[in-house]
């Protein structure tokens, strides 16, 4: 073997050994001024064998006139509806601008109190990388939480590796409080956000919006006000009839209402 090839083998061996060793620190290495990312060698080689989970499929396209038909992989046991008044915390990205006012109308109609927290351009990484959700929970003591996040993560590659821990952190912050996660209204096929949410959320707590029909605003992504209201109607009907924690959400007489709303600007 030539000296050059021996040298190359040495370089490759040393280089790959360094990265293989560092990959056993999955959260990266803190250098004080920066955090070095580490590879996925250890995770790829030692991850537990996956038990395939059924994946949710929309059985039909919900339309603005028709109720939603998003289904869970297997239907949870139908829980009895909780008819008591709730304090509902609704957090998420800009999609709340459309969903929030309609959900506020539902809250008024059914005696609930709703607090909307809109964090523009937010993602699971943004929410899961801080304790803001926990702080709002401590502040408002909600007994029901709605989350609408994922539209800003439709195209994130290798999403499970990048976002799973943030999602898990968000769900840990929610804790035992009943919740419904409203999936993003895809305008293009996603790279796995819906599957990740489906797998991580408790059964009957994830509402798949992908595959439904939406009339879009000029930006081509957000549903129009009318379409977002219809989307909210489908979600509420699903919460009442199919979710793991049904609460009273009868259709309101008014199209929209106001409620306390907190707005956070995009994180730079």
């Amino acid at each position: 073997m030539s000296k050059a090839l021996r040298g190359l083998i040495g370089i490759l061996t040393a280089g790959l050994a360094i990265f293989a060793a560092l990959s056993f620190v999955p959260d990266g290495i803190d250098l004080g001024f920066a955090r070095l990312k580490t590879g996925s060698f250890a995770e790829t080689m030692f991850a537990a064998q996956k038990v395939p989970k059924p994946v949710a499929q929309p059985v039909g396209k919900g339309t603005d006139e028709q109720p939603g038909k998003a289904v869970q992989p297997s239907k949870p046991k139908k829980a009895a509806m909780d008819t008591t008044a709730k304090v509902i915390l609704f957090i998420g990205d800009s999609m709340l601008e459309g969903l929030g006012p309609r959900l506020a109308a539902y809250a008024n109609e059914n005696g609930h109190t709703l607090i909307n927290v809109i964090w523009y351009s937010s993602t699971t990484e943004v929410w899961g990388g801080c304790t803001r959700l926990k702080e709002r929970i401590a502040e408002f003591h909600p007994d029901y939480i709605f989350v609408c996040l994922g539209a800003n993560e439709l195209f994130v590659s290798d999403i499970k590796r990048k976002r799973q821990r943030y999602l898990d952190n968000m769900l840990a912050q929610i804790g035992d409080i009943p919740y419904v996660w409203i999936g993003p209204p895809n305008w293009k096929p996603d790279t796995g956000i819906n599957d990740m949410l489906q797998e991580s959320c408790a059964q009957g707590s994830f509402y798949l919006s992908n595959g439904q029909h939406f009339d879009r605003a000029k930006d081509g992504a957000h549903p129009t006000h009318a379409s977002a209201a219809a989307w909210c109607d489908r979600v509420c009907k699903w919460v009442m009839t199919q979710s793991a924690h049904p609460i009273k959400l009868n259709r309101p007489k008014v199209a929209k209402a106001r409620c306390r709303t907190i707005v956070y600007q995009p994180q730079r």
Binding site: L12, S94, E97, S121
Partner: protein, 492 residues
């Protein structure tokens, strides 16, 4: 995490199993682990030619199997058939028989390519014409079929034209067809270039080994760092052009122009570098194409192995420029349409090919007048700008999902253009802008500087090379984890 041997074994076998969604890319960690195991064994068998051929062919076939499964039998079948037909062509003195055998070989090879790649496209078009509803056939396209089909066609045609003496060894031919560095995405190396090197079986020199490593590292930087990162924003903007301003769409167009170059040339660099480490010299595939001053020059610098293949086996075969101007233009258009269709089974690729064909014809037509222009800096700048504009605009059709989306991107760029967005864009997407500016700046760096850097790298001590390797891999990790946000503003 459970560090058990059971998990390790299960995951290891899963990694090595056939998985069409996980081709063995040169930028993947798995490839480098396998290559590290491959190289010492390769160096050991290299002096014994037959063993070397067997070993490399087996590795190449595994490489193909990993992403295409048992479709590798099709490749072996095509290769065996073409090898046999080429033998018969060489042995035959009858011109008609030779021609018939060559045609049979080309039809078989091209037929498989058409069958795999274009069946659904043809059915879809028939469906659109006659209005019948059909389900697309479940056809898995074997990885690299477009590339190895062109290699095998060039071999048989060269034997037919008596430019090449066919190889007597099927193993040698299989090695040539399946050679893993250029199996997935080229370069479309020809038998006249590779077979003599296989026969000589020269060991790799120090310059080839470390020059190869340099090329591989540059390729990884281009593909896995820059191109993949730039692609994130491009994908978002092309996914929803209605949601973006003119400036943002212009950035997406420029982004894709750079992305496709970095992606493709990066992969070619890796292929050429890996072959160089193994002691084989593959032809250059990209030569700073965005420096071109006209479209003809662009095609001499862009995907050179394909454009020269199309020139030699399509354009010249159709008559080239030997049958008058009109026929030359027709030949050019036909060649570029075939080139467009080769890139993918969709009308957008045909349109892209037609656009380039039209631009080439226009350039040929204007050539006498253009030659009369003075060779000043301004003339050169305008020529460069026009060429760059045409190439970038045509990339929009290449990239967009549909013809309508391409029109939306172009129309949105023009109709919603407002320079006021530019500083905001640069501020919010600063990393993306830095990567783009760096990519363009490095593209325009004189080639002498690149050659000098390469020489310095080859001569550098081992720890410099190790450091370069570590930095490049770390950059891959950092940029792979960095995401580009779809919305920088949120106006409902």
């Amino acid at each position: 995490m459970d560090y058990s041997l059971t998990n390790l074994w299960h995951n290891l076998t899963a990694q090595l199993a056939y998985d069409p969604s996980q081709p063995l890319l040169f930028s993947s960690g798995l490839f480098w682990v396998l290559f590290l195991l491959f190289i010492p064994l390769y160096a050991w068998v290299k002096p014994r030619r037959t063993q070397m051929l067997l070993f490399v062919t087996a590795f190449s076939l595994f490489f193909f199997y990993k992403s295409s499964g048992w479709y590798l039998l099709f490749m072996v079948f095509t290769a065996t058939l073409d090898w046999l037909l080429a033998q018969r062509i060489a042995q035959s003195g009858d011109d008609r028989r030779r021609r018939w055998l060559m045609t049979l070989s080309v039809v078989c090879s091209a037929g498989l390519l058409v069958g795999f790649k274009y069946t659904n496209f043809v059915l879809w078009n028939i469906d659109a014409i006659i209005g019948r509803n059909f389900q697309p056939l479940d056809i898995v396209l074997p990885v690299g079929i477009s590339f190895y089909t062109f290699r095998t066609i060039s071999y048989v045609v060269d034997v037919y034209k008596r430019k090449l003496q066919p190889t007597d060894s099927l193993l040698e031919y299989l090695f040539f067809i399946s050679f893993f560095p250029c199996l997935i995405a080229g370069p479309i190396v020809r038998a006249t270039e590779l077979l003599p090197q296989i026969r000589q079986n020269k060991p790799a020199t120090r310059a080839m080994v470390y020059g190869g490593l340099w090329l591989v590292l540059m390729g990884v930087l281009k593909k896995a760092v820059a191109a993949d990162y730039i692609a994130q924003y491009v994908n978002i903007a092309f996914g929803n052009p209605a949601g973006y301003s003119g400036v943002e769409l212009l950035m997406a167009i420029l982004g894709y122009t750079m992305q496709i170059y970095l992606d493709f040339s990066g992969y070619s660099d890796m292929a050429i570098g890996l072959a160089s480490i193994m002691g084989f010299r593959l032809p250059k595939n990209f030569d700073f194409p965005y420096l071109s001053l006209n479209v003809t020059e662009f095609w001499r610098r862009w995907h050179m192995s394909l454009s020269f293949w199309l020139r030699d086996y399509v354009y010249i075969s159709l008559g080239g420029n030997r049958r008058g101007k009109r026929r030359q233009y027709l030949n050019l258009m036909a060649t570029m349409l075939i080139g467009g269709l080769w890139h993918g089974a969709a009308w957008k690729f045909i349109f892209w090919g037609a656009g380039h064909g039209g631009a080439l014809c226009l350039h040929k037509w204007l050539m006498p007048r253009l030659k009369a222009l003075p060779d000043t800096g301004w003339v050169r700048f305008v020529s460069w700008l026009l060429t760059f504009l045409v190439v970038s605009l045509l990339w929009v059709f290449f990239r967009a999902d549909t013809f309508g989306t391409a029109c939306d991107v172009i129309w949105g760029t023009v109709s919603r253009f407002d320079m006021a967005y530019l500083p905001v864009f640069a501020q919010v997407r600063n990393t993306w802008c830095i990567v783009m500016v760096l990519a363009f700046a490095l593209h325009f760096l004189p080639q002498a500087i690149w050659n000098d850097l390469r020489r310095r790298f080859i001569r550098s001590p081992w720890w410099v090379k190790l450091l370069a390797f570590v930095i490049v891999v770390q950059l891959v990790l950092e940029f792979a984890a960095a995401d580009v946000q779809p919305f920088i503003y949120a106006q409902f």
